[in-house]
Amino acid sequence: MGNCFKTPNADDISLLRGSDSSESSDQPIGPPPPYQERQNRVPIYHPSPNVSRPANQLSEEEQIKIAKRLGLISHLPTGVYDGSSKKGKECAICMGEFTLGESLRFLPCMHTYHKDCIDDWLMRAFTCPSCMEPVDAALLSSYGT
């Protein structure tokens, strides 16, 4: 415990890098961003919506918050759009339609988004953008049943 934020594993590092590709897992795992020397490469985090801070300026509390989110996000199911979705065909975040082969993420409230889009939001707030349902509460109750 304690420094879980700084210990990279395959899941965490893909999110830390910005999670914009599904191939990221076959890239070599390097040191986590807080240790990057070049100032302009320090990733920006958003401990809450409308707040942006470089990784090296996060308070300890914010680091823990973000580490927890990374962990929780990795528990949310993902999939690939195969055209068979009965409900939403559009991502409410980018307002783009799902196209075949795109990575999606499914929230416990049954709302579906592009994986990149929703992960960017969940790193700021742990609620579903469409129904405002807290994702962690729903996640815990879905384990309970």
Binding site: R17, C94, C117
Partner: protein
């Protein structure tokens, strides 16, 4: 083989985000021009020239205290829209006299800061503003108007709003 966060990855991600943002704004603009809610109008011509700043015309709803009045709402979108909320304020000659609207055009409305969600849009913000106006019972400025207007930042998002009621 790339090293993590190489400058190319970084640039690539920034471009992707910029592309998505522009696509979303264009979609919103299309929807709003094609099928605008009553009392809401955008000047699409002016916006296509600069997608990051919109001016929306709002009509006071019939049978409300603002019936017959016309207002202008300005939206400014930062590079993190829709993850960050847009800057929204009234501009122009006629700033509605309303307990949640300051005389400099700033609006005290929770969805514009704390309760923002990326599933909200220009359209939903306009509708919230119209309904905020429509539910007004007495035309007056917020009690702290003169102090706020003297001391606030130009950007309403820099204000720490205290939301009363709903």
């Amino acid at each position: 083989m790339n090293s993590p966060l190489s400058p190319i990855d970084f640039e690539d991600k920034r471009l992707k985000i910029k592309f998505k943002l522009e696509k979303r704004l264009q979609k919103e603009l299309q929807a709003l021009t094609k099928d605008p809610p009553t009392g809401v109008k955008v000047d699409a011509e002016s916006i296509y020239r600069n997608l990051s700043e919109w001016i929306v015309d709002i009509d006071g709803a019939p049978e409300s205290l603002y019936e017959g009045e016309k207002f202008k709402l300005m939206f400014k979108f930062g590079s993190r829209y829709p993850f960050d909320s847009p800057q929204v304020m009234f501009i122009g000659e006629n700033i509605p006299l309303h307990p949640h609207v300051y005389s400099n055009g700033h609006i005290c409305l929770s969805i514009l800061t704390d309760d923002w969600s990326p599933a909200l849009s220009v359209q939903s913000v306009c509708l919230s503003v119209v309904s905020m106006l429509s539910s007004c019972k007495e035309k007056k400025r917020p009690p702290d108007n003169s102090f706020y207007v003297k001391t606030c930042s130009k950007n309403p998002k820099k204000t720490r709003w205290w939301y009363h009621g709903k």
